[in-house]
């Protein structure tokens, strides 16, 4: 059985990890904040539908951006290919949703 206690982690790296973790917690707080705003907008019914829908969508995209770039480390180096693939998938996704959403019933 491997002896875990003897494996060391470079202390400079430990500090970097800690800083990174701080950014993650801030991201989390922001995500909660955006979620709250979204729910409040709908819950109070204070915004007109024409404004609410795009605003909600933008809040979602920003929140997803935090999830991808911070929680999933898309901002770090060596993530070029994953970014390309996710954006490619997003493009195909947008086309699919546009097609199904717009030209199905008209």
């Amino acid at each position: 059985m491997p002896d875990l206690v003897n494996n060391k982690v470079n202390s400079y790296q430990k500090q970097k990890n800690k800083n990174e973790m701080k950014k993650q917690v801030i991201s989390f707080a922001l995500m909660i904040f955006f979620t709250l705003i979204a729910f409040i907008i709908v819950g109070t019914g204070s915004m007109e539908k024409m404004f609410a829908v795009p605003v909600l969508f933008i809040l979602a995209v920003v929140q997803v951006g935090f999830q991808f770039y911070y929680f999933m480390h898309l901002k770090d180096k060596d993530h070029e290919m994953p970014a390309v693939m996710i954006y490619g998938g997003v493009w195909a996704a947008l086309l699919t949703i546009a097609g199904l959403g717009v030209i199905t019933w008209w």
Binding site: M81, M85, G88, G89, W91, A92, L95, T96, G99, L100, I103, T104, W105, W106
Partner: protein, 616 residues
């Protein structure tokens, strides 16, 4: 694992090796055998169709059986013949072209193959179990919902299982190309076949999920009473068409792009000249793939999407002709001034150029939404897509098999017989399908089991059928070629005076491909060494232990589990007892997944000392 390659093994040992292999070269053989078998099946279905249409008001087969025949011909040829054979070539060659010892996920590679095999078998079991699917290979929702019997259910489950396999293959090749290129092999030094396979894998990644969803929705509607396509409950059958073609159009680019890459390699090798406009070729391929996602509704021009939507898609469709045209010109310019060698492979490539161009041209004609109102659902469309698929993909497959047979099997296919095959098939192909353009323009609808007397369609259909017979003779000749080649002399490492890395190692390669990973000095690495070096690729690392993965029976078992569950899904609407194979099959498959995950499988090492003893 023995490193002495000359042991004689029993048939049983060879079979077990193939059933448990995770070696990309052996998986390539498996894909070729599976795909080849289904190609024959699809071809027989085509011959039956053509016999039914040899004369007006024929009754060789019934209308219902005819519908099954056209459905299975299309579905089999696209999903079970063309795609697997392309995957065979990609498996056989891609790792060798980039200097890798295997693909990124060997276990997944094997799983992908067995899922395809079982999916294909499941689909074809329908012939014996009440009738094959009969809704066309496109299985449009309105008819597909009510088609009696279980044919369409077999279609749904068979393609779902086989499609999962293809998706795995796509991801596998993507990761392999990104992470496992040999030192010095930058992206812009990869051969075009590798580039094309890479871009094709991106298409697979993004197109197959749409088909997955479409099949799930159809399955839910047929088996579980949901209302996606049921108009009475508020559903909409156009949703199926959108989802199917969002998959379907990229799918046809999946069929053609790898052979485009292959032809680039072929033209350059057999003209003894580097590819003209390498960078443009790479970007043209990317552009075709990108645009390929934006044109799906050109299959739906007559559905009633309206003039704005139709125009957008029409323009996109015509735009794809531009990068494709760039590629055709670049191939011609590669040959111009080159030292051309007409081998069987080169013949197929030369035959491809005019044939595919005609197909592409009729594609642009079909892309005009207005004109398409006349062409849609006639034989004009049938002629178009056979010109691009047969004139493109099938010609490419034959070319690739001739070209890479030595690398895959250590023998060279008989050239004379190969050239005969080409001419018979080529002439038969044009006889069958050229005339169909005119049959379509004269108004002959597609997917009709008969045409009538006095419509002046008799001669055209008769000629078309004769062409099909000629193609069959060509295919039989190819099979004979394969069989007699078993006994032909062993092939050298580099029978064609090649330019790319796969020709630097023996034919067939050792099971570990490269003793030492090669160092790449530029595009067409082997040619560089031949002209500027000593004809051998320099190694990039010292000789050391080589890490290889273990064989495993789990992929076969897992696919078997899904296969059994498939039957369960299909028949559980008839008796509740069929929930048993459904749950047992799924549990078994998931159990295999768990077994795989819980064991540590670290592979094994070939010792340096054993490698030193091996001949180069």
């Amino acid at each position: 694992m023995s490193t002495t390659a000359t042991q004689k093994r029993s048939i049983g040992a060879v079979l077990w090796d193939y059933m448990t292999t995770i070696d990309h070269k052996k998986i390539a053989h498996l894909y070729l055998i599976g795909g080849g078998f289904f190609f024959i099946l699809g071809g027989l279905e085509a011959v039956v169709i053509r016999i039914q249409l040899i004369k007006p008001d024929n009754d060789f087969i019934s209308a219902g059986l005819y519908n099954q025949m056209i459905t299975m011909h299309g579905t089999t040829m696209i999903f079970l013949a063309a795609m697997p054979i392309i995957l065979a070539l990609m498996n056989a060659v891609l790792p060798l072209q980039i200097g890798a010892r295997d693909v990124a996920f060997p276990f997944l590679n094997s799983l992908g193959f067995w899922l395809f095999m079982f999916g294909g078998i499941l689909l074809n079991c329908s012939w014996f179990l009440g009738g094959a699917p009969d809704g066309g290979w496109t299985s449009y929702a309105s008819f597909a919902l009510t088609s009696p019997g279980h044919g369409i259910d077999f279609y749904v489950m068979g393609l779902q299982i086989a499609g999962a396999g293809t998706l795995m293959g796509g991801i596998n090749f993507l990761v392999t190309v990104i992470n496992m290129r040999a030192p010095g092999m930058t992206y812009m030094r990869m051969p075009l076949f590798t580039w094309a396979s890479f871009i094709t894998s991106v298409l697979i990644l993004f197109a197959f999920p749409a088909l997955t969803v479409a099949l799930f929705l159809l399955m839910f509607d047929r088996m579980f009473g949901s209302a996606f396509f049921d108009v009475t409950m508020g559903g909409n059958s156009v949703i199926w068409q959108h989802l199917f073609w969002i998959f379907g159009h990229p799918e046809v680019y999946i069929l053609i792009l790898p052979v485009f890459g292959l032809f680039s390699d072929l033209f350059s090798t057999f003209s003894k000249k580097r590819l003209f406009g390498y960078t443009a070729m790479v970007f043209a391929t990317m552009l075709i793939a990108f645009l390929g996602f934006m044109v799906w509704a050109h299959h739906m021009f007559t559905v009633g999407l309206g003039p704005v939507a139709n125009s957008i898609f029409a323009i996109g469709t015509m735009a794809i002709a531009v990068p494709t045209g760039i590629k055709i010109f670049n191939w011609l310019l590669t040959m111009w001034g080159g030292n051309i060698k007409i081998t069987a492979a080169m013949l197929w490539a030369l035959g491809f150029i005019p044939s595919f161009t005609i197909g592409g041209m009729t594609g642009v004609m079909l892309g005009s939404a207005v004109a398409d109102y006349q062409y849609h659902d006639t034989y004009f469309v049938v002629a178009h897509f056979h010109y691009v698929i047969v004139g493109g993909t099938v010609f490419g497959v034959f070319a690739g098999l001739h070209y890479w047979w030595p690398k895959m099997f250590g023998r060279i296919l008989h050239e004379g017989l190969g050239k005969w095959t080409f001419w018979l098939f080529f002439i038969g192909f044009h006889l069958t399908f050229f005339i169909q353009h005119f049959l379509g323009l004269m108004g002959m609808p597609r997917r009709y089991w008969v045409f009538l007397e006095g419509q002046e369609l008799d001669l055209g259909n008769w000629i078309s059928t004769m062409g099909a017979f000629l193609m069959s003779v060509g295919v039989i000749m190819f099979l004979i070629n394969v069989i007699i080649t078993i006994k032909s002399p062993k092939a050298p490492a580099d029978p064609w005076d090649g330019r790319t890395l796969e020709w630097a190692i023996s034919s067939p390669p050792k099971f570990y491909n490269f003793k030492q990973l090669p160092l790449i000095r530029g595009l067409d690495p082997l040619w560089i060494e031949k002209t500027e070096g000593n004809g051998k690729i320099p190694p990039a690392e010292p000789l050391d232990d080589v890490h290889m993965p273990n064989n495993t029976f789990l992929p076969f078992l897992m696919s078997l589990g899904f296969f059994v569950a498939g039957f369960g899904f299909i028949y559980q609407t008839d008796h509740k007892l069929m929930l048993l194979p459904l749950y047992i099959g799924m549990a078994f498959a998931l159990g295999c997944m768990a077994v795989r995950s819980f064991k540590d499988d670290l592979g094994y090492y070939i010792k340096k000392e054993d490698l030193e003893r091996e001949a180069d």
